[in-house]
Symmetry: C2
Subunit: 437 residues, 2 copies
């Protein structure tokens, strides 16, 4: 069984390491030895980890993919990864990829090519690194009906938010710390603006709902607008702020069923299993009709964890070569419409400063009622907030924290606009979604 | 694709429900319709859930299994389940079973029969109900090397311990509550004595370490000796008491590598992901060399959750029938020896009352040193324990809480025996293992 690896960065090196050090185990599990026939790199002259035999390095990726039974793509980016994967498939190789950006942008082209050629295309490592989530969703839960997926699928932002919560850092400080530890890139845009999470959300939504969802279908909002104050208030109201990738069944205004996919910061109740996901860890929480609540937790990035997921896929596709059979193919039979952001239904927490006089709460409550948004709770003097109590004591303003029942994004936006127009409202400080309650 | 279901209890009924209500989805996923051809029951005259078509009921299980492509065994118990599964395999049917007791006792016979007949034998539902754990361990982590598995795999005992911790109940009260809610049987022995968890530990160990491990190989200790005091002291020292199923690599005294498999109550640090597993939920924590720490969380029992896991397996084996190929077969190539309980290495927390005079701690510490057990921490006056402070103030006794570094069970037993023999020691109150630190 000839294996080619495309890319020899952090992940590629660890894939080569596992293929080498675990060779006997892998042969026993596959039923035939896995022979590493080449590692494609841009520059063969760069010094590399000694685990990578220099004789295996080649700059001719195009040639390499035609000499392998299994091609592992861990170079990332759209091109040349896309072209090489298609070429490998054309030549009858099974493909294992960790490339979330490519799958979220152009997955169906790859799936169709693999299907037409009758070869496997596996991608466990593309979502949440080492955590087995693609296989459980594609295979274990295939007899169930998934309602919703809530994922912490970006370790960088989880680390940043965790630092803000536990050490009171502001966003900039926390990002700098993440960069110092190698959790964040020099340019952290892809992480903090939610692009990375959005790609994973698209892949998870496609799998969970048997519907094609691409990156462009995902409503995306990063964590850059969050303040230390937002994080502190989250704790004060019994929540933790997390950047969530959310994919759920929903319906359009006319009642048509569809799926809604989004990435945004959300308040998660402290008692929810996702609230305990600390540091750079990832977790995917799945709600299914029969199975109920499931959570998958682990390392979402890093060379060795990602390589573990890649190798699991390599063994599967290699076993199919040896024993026959094929893995799951793309399943998009449900073909549900992707609903616009306005159709998303969730709970909200609004913080606003209002003029402190009788009747103000009634005015605000009336606006919510007009927009059909129902109030779950209002707090006016949260316990233990001295600064606020001083301000209240001064008699000038009152701070309201309003939690709503589930409402559509559209209704909420209209509500906030109307509230901002009220004379008695000084400012709307923040509007955050509450998920997992 | 003809499907037969053996057993129509809580799980069987939900399997029938999913096969019926999800028929179109299942057909799309399998590539062919799944036709329920019969449900074997002991007594066809009993009134059943209307989702079960009475025309499908039969008391002739032996005949039914010869008329199916896929046989789902959810009757439980050793016989007639074992005979029926073997008969189904003989007739070329693929088998999906949720029967942990049977697999832990006689799995290799079934695996060998399935292998010889070239049919699939799947059993996701046998461990931790709805949680996909068998498939991730058999397939996703197959390119990695698992070091240790720590599982909360019995919902009844987790519920009981959670109630003791959160409401201060004693064991008997908590078991009664679990019985009232249907989480515990009228005779709770299998759960509270750890037999159920031990069966799951054997299955997990077999999968994780490619080695045959049966129920008899599992060292087992239930929760019946735990007191409300143990639970309260756990919290006081920053831990949560959980009944854990543990399977890990280890070595014998002569250095031979092997596996050690056990079930016992353990102190889990409050910051560990397993500590947050509340109520009747299950979770399996896996430590693998490349993947690092993973956790799988969800409902470990109940009709619908278990049926979800069964259906996932049904789809997999049915797809193999339609598209060719086969699932993983038993993998026992590593064939590691199962190490005795004495070889288990872990940390311990000991609570003991000693005569309160100078030099006592030195005597106790000397005993630990003699046995080669190294001390991590000693506390003599835990903060906030008024009763103890009063006793200490009275000058009669002192309570020591000693936490050790990792030591073998053998060394620890010797230590405790020697400590009990010291004049200055009033009593050893408890010795609990500390896991997951």
């Amino acid at each position: 069984m000839r294996v080619a690896v495309l890319g020899c960065g952090v992940v590629g090196t660890q894939v080569v390491r596992l293929l080498t050090t675990q060779a006997d185990d892998l042969a026993a599990r596959v039923g035939a030895p896995l022979q590493l026939v080449g590692v494609a790199v841009r520059d063969t002259s760069v010094e590399r980890d000694p685990v990578v035999d220099p004789a295996l390095l080649t700059a001719d990726a195009e040639g390499l993919v035609t000499r392998a039974d299994v091609v592992v793509e861990v170079m990332g980016g759209i091109e040349p990864a896309r072209g090489l994967i298609l070429r490998a498939i054309e030549h009858g190789a099974a493909v294992v990829t960790a490339n979330k950006a490519l799958l979220a942008q152009d997955g169906p082209t790859l799936y169709a090519a693999a299907d037409a050629a009758g070869v496997d295309l596996y991608f466990e490592a593309a979502v949440a690194g080492a955590i087995p989530i693609v296989r459980p969703v594609r295979e274990s839960l295939v007899g169930d009906r998934i309602r919703r997926v809530l994922g912490i699928v970006n370790g960088t932002t989880n680390y940043v938010l965790d630092k803000m919560a536990t050490e009171g850092l502001d966003l900039e400080q926390a990002v700098k710390e993440a960069q110092a530890l190698g959790y964040a890139e020099a340019d952290p845009t892809a992480d903090v603006e939610g692009y990375d999470a959005a790609a994973k959300a698209a892949i998870l939504a496609s799998l969970a709902f048997h519907t094609r969802v691409s990156l462009d279908d995902v409503d995306r909002e990063g964590i850059t607008a969050l303040t230390a104050d937002d994080v502190a208030w989250a704790a004060r109201t019994g929540h933790v702020l997390k950047l969530l990738a959310i994919a759920e069944r929903g319906e359009a205004e006319d009642g048509t069923p569809g799926v809604q996919v989004r990435v945004h910061p959300a308040l998660v109740p402290a008692s929810h299993p996702l609230a305990g996901v600390r540091g750079a860890f990832n977790a995917v929480f799945v709600e299914a009709e029969a199975a109920g609540e499931l959570m998958f937790y682990g390392r979402g990035a890093g060379g060795a964890p990602t390589a573990s997921a890649v190798l699991g896929d390599v063994v599967s596709v290699a076993r199919h070569r040896v024993l026959g059979g094929r893995g799951p193919v793309e399943s998009s039979y449900a073909d549900l419409p992707v609903l616009p952001a306005e159709a998303a239904r969730t709970r909200y927490q609004m913080r606003l400063d209002v003029v402190d006089r009788p009747g103000v709460l009634a005015q605000v409550a009336a606006v919510l009622a007009e927009h059909g948004v129902s109030i779950e709770a209002v707090r006016q003097t949260p316990v233990g907030d001295d600064a606020l109590e001083n301000a209240l004591a001064a008699g000038e303003i009152a701070r309201l924290v309003i939690t709503t029942h589930a409402a559509t994004e559209r209704a909420l936006r209209g509500t906030v606009e109307s509230i901002e127009g009220l004379d008695v409202v000084r400012r709307v400080i923040s509007v955050l979604r509450v998920e997992g309650a």
